[in-house]
């Protein structure tokens, strides 16, 4: 049983300098074909469960034209939601206007995730993002339609000072939004900025600390995510809680019946309705490993009782877990095992020991 669905819309108006996700410049003919294929994939594989969460990500879903958006919502109209459902759509700041917000609202969307990345022109320039938009007024407009809004922020940018970052966060705080995802820039190969040097380590670490202290009134519930109480991303928690979900669209991933699938990244293939590329069938041990690498990202970590029940074992018998607890890298709090906050910044060093 999976009660979450992810839909991938791999098209953008503009390719940002840092982005290594699966995306293409928009082209109406190809988008139309794509939406047909997407519908076909859902028809083939979706078993009709009632959903707790639906998430449309990209790319830039909001770059679709009106007809295409209508087609998209026609596709999503088949999903039946449970009470307290969460339906998120990713939205570019420049696409926000009353018309699109209205359209979202009328089609049951109840959460917006806006890729702001930074409020500062210098940074937007570096990221190759549109810098001639009045970001604040657009967000204020969105707030009239939605209260559950996330913005994405990227830091550790070239020539960014700690003051610049502080300004970004201050603006976010003044907007009084319930959720923010803060990502430190990862310089990926095959992107426009693949040749630049990362900012110095001390500054990177200072920025990480600054964010943490400035957002102290928010719940730092996942490594990169902060929210007001009750506004945690239900959809993303599905991933981090190692629960099953559907993923439809180019390069999308699913986790169904103990199998993790990954779709092709080739758009032509996808539009010819060829979908699933890789299959990873999980053993019990694999599932436990995923549980470690996912749940330890969460502030609450792993609940000992739940884990022991789910896997019919005692997590504290695991030699490496024990070792990490002895080394103070993992802590036991109440009935949960969590990563010592001191090491969140280098959490992979801990996770690699557990896989």
């Amino acid at each position: 049983m999976a009660n979450s669905v992810y839909l991938h819309i791999p098209f953008c108006n503009n390719i940002c300098s840092y982005c290594d996700f699966c995306k293409f410049y928009k082209n109406d003919e190809i988008i139309n074909k794509y939406l047909d294929s997407l519908e076909n994939e859902i028809d083939n594989d979706f078993l009709g469960e009632k959903l707790n969460t639906l998430y449309i990500g990209g790319g830039t879903p909001s770059c679709l034209n009106n007809n295409q958006l209508n087609k998209l919502f026609d596709i999503t109209s088949r999903f039946i939601f449970n009470d307290n459902y969460e339906f998120t759509i990713e939205c570019n700041i420049e696409d926000i206007d009353e018309e699109i917000l209205e359209l979202f609202k009328n089609n049951r969307v109840n959460r917006l995730s806006i890729g702001v990345q930074s409020f500062i022109k210098k940074n937007l320039n570096f990221l190759d993002r549109n810098k001639n938009i009045d970001i604040i007024s657009r967000i204020n407009l969105a707030k009239k339609y939605f209260d559950n809004i996330n913005i994405d922020l990227i830091y550790a940018l070239k020539n960014q000072s700690i003051k610049d970052l502080e300004k970004d966060i201050d603006i976010f705080l003044s907007l009084d939004l319930p959720h923010i995802s803060c990502y430190s820039l990862i310089i990926e190969p095959h992107t426009k900025i693949s040749n630049i040097k990362p900012i110095n380590d001390k500054l990177d670490y200072d920025m990480f600390k600054l964010i943490d202290s400035k957002l102290k009134d928010y719940n730092h519930y996942e490594i990169s995510n902060y929210s007001k109480k009750g506004y945690e991303s239900k959809h993303n928690l599905t991933y981090w809680n190692n629960e099953e979900y559907y993923g439809f669209g180019l390069s999308a991933s699913s986790y169904l019946n103990n199998i993790r699938y990954t779709n092709y990244r080739n758009l032509t293939k996808y539009n010819e309705k060829i979908y699933k590329k890789e299959k990873e069938i999980l053993s019990l041990e694999d599932k436990m490993k995923y549980e470690y690498i996912l749940k330890f990202r969460l502030k609450d970590g792993i609940n000992i009782k739940d884990f022991n029940k789910k896997y019919n074992c005692n997590i504290l018998d695991n030699k490496i877990i024990k070792e990490l607890i002895n080394e103070d890298k993992l802590l036991i709090e109440n009935d949960n095992i969590i990563v010592n906050k001191k090491y969140i910044y280098v959490i992979n060093e801990i996770l690699v020991k557990l896989i």
Partner: protein
């Protein structure tokens, strides 16, 4: 029948064309056709072909004009002169091969003297005479002046083109005496090599000196009286050929289902069970010059490592090892090597042939430590060094060098030797353009990068050989390395007091480069006694977080983590610090 046998080896400085000459001889005697020829047939070990050097000796039987020739290949590198002397003990003659473009080099000299010690008939040969930059007349004069050969006994060849090879073979038959053993005496054979075969057990290479050995004979090793029944006899052409008996003068192999590796000792005499014979004169065992620790990266591989060393030492008697324990590295072995190249070869063979990742600690010579209570200790492991207070003096081994070099590099070579704590002895002029420079140098100073430096100081022209000349007192101290405040015994080393500060500084800097960032800031310190002489810090780790979880692509996230894990697998945990295994050796490349 003995009259028709000739046993000989080829001796030469490295790269003077020994293996190519062997190839040509194989071809000319019809042992192997041109078509079958993969160049350098005798270098069968993967490593040998890759590095273009001969490490292990190989013996082949050849037919030529009604004579049986046994050709025994020899290594050229200075580290392996022990192997050369093993080859030579099984021969009556040697071809001394000199490159027409290079003339006499350091190992030409060393090998010449080894052959003389073994009472061999020496045939001087100048090779590569076809090359445009050859200077055959000059090299002829060198051979005449240095060794006293007659001009007309020197044979000129090009192993590459085959020029002069038939002439050389005729000379071998004419000049090298037939083996002197008696076919009717009791069987005695000299074991000059052995190799482990998964099916046949230990296979020994023998030179039959007297009598004969047949299939099903019960053979006995004199050194330990172990008895085995012969199940297979044969020789190489280089293909394996099985025979029913081997007799006096023959060079071949014996397989006798020998499972106990320790029963076979190179240089031992083999005879028959019921015979009482005098042992043959073996050859002097080479003393290991360089010692270092070998440890498995994964501690559970100790037994596998032990087995690997056992098997390697089977046909490499010069490799010695005994168990040792390091606080930092756990259980391993203290190993003795002939030299640095030998150490390098053993390391690679363990990793390639036995697939065990190992750590090698910094090599050390044997120091003689005189204590205040008049005791003398021989120490090859710096961590065994006694407390400074109880040491009255320390002596270290010294060598005398033969450095062959064109005269224009005399200055830079002298500068190099002075920097290595050398004392100038004298200089022999080979001719107007070349000299042999003699220095007295601490052995420890030539262990690390001396050879490389020599090449770069002389633009590649210098050749080098050395002999041990005994121990001399030196002002030495033990320098320790501390990681995160903890001493790492495997990184301790013995250094000259005057060089300690700069060395300590360089080593801490080097370690900082080699050791990846850790979860904490880790200080690296060099200290003598309790006094820290240098310090460097490894910074704490860069951020290592996979931020964005794109569309639930969690398999990819796991793959990224797995990739990171793969990179860490080979790391060794020393306390709470992760160290790449190469660190223990690489740290010395700064010297």
């Amino acid at each position: 029948m003995n009259e028709k046998i000739r046993n000989f080896a080829i001796i030469a400085h490295i790269d003077h064309g020994k293996s190519t000459l062997a190839d040509r001889i194989l071809e000319l005697t019809g042992a192997i056709s041109k078509r079958e020829m993969s160049s350098q047939m005798l270098d069968s070990m993967e490593l040998e072909q890759e590095r273009g050097i001969t490490i292990k000796l190989n013996a082949v039987k050849l037919d030529y004009k009604g004579y049986t020739l046994h050709l025994i290949d020899t290594p050229g590198h200075v580290d392996f002169s022990y192997e050369v002397s093993r080859s030579l003990a099984a021969c009556e003659g040697a071809i001394l091969l000199v490159d027409a473009t290079q003339g006499i080099q350091a190992q030409t000299l060393a090998n010449y003297f080894l052959a003389l010690e073994n009472d061999l008939t020496i045939i001087p040969v100048i090779n590569k005479i076809d090359l445009p930059n050859s200077d055959t007349d000059k090299v002829i004069n060198e051979l005449v002046d240095t060794f006293g050969f007659e001009k007309d006994e020197i044979i000129l060849t090009s192993a590459k083109t085959g020029l002069g090879i038939d002439n050389l073979l005729d000379e071998i038959i004419k000049k090298i005496p037939a083996p002197s053993g008696n076919i009717n005496s009791d069987f005695r054979g000299l074991i000059f090599d052995s190799v482990y075969d998964a099916y046949k057990g230990v296979v020994v290479q023998v030179r039959v000196v007297d009598g004969k050995v047949k299939l099903k004979d019960k053979i006995k090793f004199l050194s330990n009286d172990a008895v085995y029944e012969v199940v297979e006899l044969g020789y190489h052409t280089p293909k394996e050929v099985k025979v029913n008996e081997l007799s006096a003068g023959d060079v071949g192999y014996i397989a006798a289902s020998i499972k106990k590796i320790k029963d076979v000792q190179i240089g031992d005499t083999v005879t028959l069970e019921n015979l009482k014979v005098k042992p043959l004169e073996g050859y002097k065992r080479m003393k290991s010059m360089v010692y270092s620790g070998i440890y498995p990266v994964e501690t559970n591989k100790y037994d596998e490592l032990k087995e690997a060393l056992e098997k390697l030492s089977l046909n490499d008697a010069s490799l010695i090892y005994e168990p040792e324990v390091s606080k930092a590295l756990g259980f391993g072995f203290r190993c003795g090597f002939l030299g640095l190249l030998h150490m390098d070869i053993i390391k690679e063979r363990i990793e390639r042939e036995f697939n065990i990742d190992i750590i090698i600690t910094s090599p050390s010579v044997i120091y003689k430590v005189y204590l205040t209570n008049n005791e003398v200790k021989e120490i090859s492991n710096p961590s065994d060094f006694p407390d400074r207070q109880v040491i009255s003096r320390i002596e270290e081994p010294y060598v005398k060098t033969n450095i062959f070099v064109p005269t224009e590099y005399i200055g830079s070579i002298m500068e190099l030797c002075e920097n290595k704590r050398g004392n100038f002895i004298n200089m022999d002029y080979i001719d107007k353009t070349r000299v042999n420079i003699h220095y007295e140098l601490p052995l420890s100073e030539i262990m690390h990068d001396f050879f490389d430096k020599l090449k770069s100081y002389s633009k590649g022209y210098a050749s080098f050989d050395y002999e041990l000349i005994g121990y001399k007192q030196s002002d030495l101290v033990k320098m320790d390395i501390l990681l995160n405040g903890e001493m790492v015994d495997a990184l301790s080393m013995i250094v000259h007091k005057d060089f300690a500060y700069s060395l300590g500084k360089n080593i801490t800097i080097k370690l900082k480069e080699i050791i990846p960032r850790q979860l904490f800031e880790v200080p690296i310190q060099a200290s003598i006694g309790n006094k820290v002489i240098s310090r460097c810090d490894i910074k704490s780790m860069r951020k290592n977080v996979l931020a964005k979880c794109y569309g639930g692509d969690i398999s990819r996230k796991k793959k990224l983590l797995e990739k990171q894990k793969e990179g860490k697998k080979k790391m060794k945990m020393i306390g709470s610090v992760e160290i790449p295994p190469e660190a223990f050796l690489d740290v010395l490349s700064i010297k």
